[in-house]
């Protein structure tokens, strides 16, 4: 009957709408923690920073290359621990199209410069003075490393210190 059909339709629509609202509430609740992080596979937020030698680095200029983006601080021991490994792997991979960009979380030039010379770092090191890049990448806590592939997509986010073997694995992953 026509009336019956209409009734069934109405009920189905209302139930579907309510069900969708419930599912949405559950979904947002479960993604709440990860919503505060960069989504894997999403485009890496672009930024411009100047390194300690005065060269500007714009992330989008590295399209076509893999980028290992590392956030660190001089007082942070695990950050310091992984630096020499990154330095070694930087030399091994820089000619294979994998870059390392090390972003300090906003310390003084003095602190960063002495750290760089103490560890003999040759990859670009830059200071995020206004902490805008950290906000864009939701950096917390240190150290955190983002793997960005040649298309400019974030394919992994690693928190905590890296071993040399791990760094090499990751470099392999983003090698174009």
């Amino acid at each position: 009957m026509d009336k019956k059909k209409r009734r069934l339709m109405m009920r189905t629509v209302i139930l579907l709408l309510l069900g969708a609202a419930l599912v949405y509430a559950l979904y947002t609740n479960f993604t709440k923690d990860t919503a505060n992080q960069i989504q894997m596979g999403s485009e890496a937020p672009n930024f411009v920073l100047t390194d300690m030698d005065g060269n500007e680095h714009k992330l989008s200029d590295y399209r076509g290359q893999g980028v290992m983006l590392n956030f660190w601080g001089t007082w942070c021991k695990p950050c310091e621990y992984e630096m020499p490994y990154m330095e070694n792997q930087y030399h091994a991979y820089k000619d294979q199209g994998v870059q390392i960009l090390a972003v300090n979380v906003g310390e003084s030039n003095y602190a960063v410069n002495s750290f760089v010379s103490r560890h003999n770092l040759s990859f670009p090191v830059m200071i995020d003075k206004g902490q805008e890049v950290q906000v864009a990448y939701r950096v917390d806590p240190l150290p955190v490393t983002f793997l960005i592939d040649k298309e400019g997509k974030v394919i992994d986010r690693i928190t905590g210190s890296l071993t040399e073997a791990k760094i090499q694995q990751h470099m392999e992953k983003i090698k174009p």
Partner: protein, 551 residues
Amino acid sequence: MDELKCECGHVNPTGTILCEACGKAVGNRQNENKLLDMRYEGSARRSQTYNKSIIDKIWNFFSSVKVGVSLIVIALVASSIGTIFPQETYIPSTIPASEYYEQEYGAFGKLYYLLGFHNLYSSWWYLVIIGMLGMSILIASIDRFFPLYRSLKNQKVVRHDSFMKRQRIFGITNVSNQEVNLEQITERLKKQRYRIREENGNILAEKGRFSRWGPYVNHIGLIIFLIGGLLRSVPGMYVDKVVWLREGEMKEIPGTNGEYYLKNNAFIFEVYDKGNKEDEAFVKAIEKTGTAIAKNYQSNVTLYKQEGEVLPGEKPQLQKVKDFEIKVNEPLKHDHYALYQVDYKLNEFSKMSFYLMDKKTEEKFGTLTIDLNDPKPSYQLKKGYSVELMSYFPDFEFKENGEPTTKTRIPNNPAFIFKMVTPDKPEGEVSFVAIRENIEPAGENVYKMAFAGVETRNATALTVRKDLTLGILFAGGIIFMIGVVQGAYWNHRRIWVKRKGEEIWIAGHTNKNWHGLKRDIALVVQTTPLFEPTDQLNEEKFSNKGEEISG
């Protein structure tokens, strides 16, 4: 037949118990009690009628008052469990939750943690309960409102005898040898603000039908409130962040996606002062407590807006919006954002000054001032004298192996390793300087760095808040209250007067406050030959079925 045709000719929907028009029992569901069950006017609640498909079954489940009440009880119990111990958000961040609950509350605390009650209000099952409650409210309302509305709209003036007889207020007067002035009765009813419908000497007087919609208005308010709560998780609707700013510092305001920047010009902390004339009234209180009593926490800030497209890390193009003094309860409000004073830190070291001094003669060869947040590698003093900063530890401590190191980047306890270059010591002397400490690692020096002074600055913490759902929550709350008032302060009263041969029948019905209805009727029939109808419920004690609950 899908529909029920009543004797009076009115066609009712399937499932109708009492004819919408005349009130005669149709169908065979009405029980044989003396009084009618007037709930929802005996209308065809759809859920009670069809029960075939899975959709109907789900619908009927949520439409049930029993289910609704059970959900409310479950939600109440669950919500109260969440208040036994503090939720995870409120425990100190220094201890992980897995240890905190056991440590603080023992075995029961551990169980509480293991069952996930430390995050109860965002657990999936709690959300499901609240969601189901919302569905129950909405579906039960739809299922009752429309049939009730239809019934009240279709009611006729003349009701069936059986309907009249089985009303709680009912009476018959034989008027064979007396004149009854119906005009007078109508007049009296009108005076009591009844709306009158008349048909062939029969009367239907009705008032306060509006009160019957109260519960549904109330439910609409609740639903809006729930929607408001749901919207909080939609991006852009709700922001709750904290920003720390030292004096002189400028930062992007978190949660604004780089749209706004804030500069802290000064943080001011004032206490009540005995010596101050203004505070004379408080002298006793100040003496009694013996400690400083805070009078004002204030951040003098400047708000800037980012103009144009700028990448993170690029120099922002800022346009000044306004200067403002943020105090407790006096937030800076702009563009749906509000910045509240929430915390502060006083006297953080910002600059330190030293003299280069000959230890013996105490002759000074100039001063140098080190910006603790941006030190320079070397400082030139007068000709031939300079100081190199070999190492700097903003938050100094000794490692286990005795080497100096820094705990954080904040200058809480600054320490320096200086190399002092002088004309008589051109290769330089090394000195380790920390607060109240002066170590000469390479043997006795001729010169030293003497402490000359320190500058401090304050830091302020502000809460960044944006809540676009507030208006919706308010609207929901107000509609909720309107519904409550509507249903609670008005009664739906009806009086039927039916002429039947030489008799006049009077029946009355109300959804609450029967005393009021009886008083209304008494006022109408006084001084007329009509008897005051009786309350049939008082005459005979019914088991319970006869009493009806308002719809």
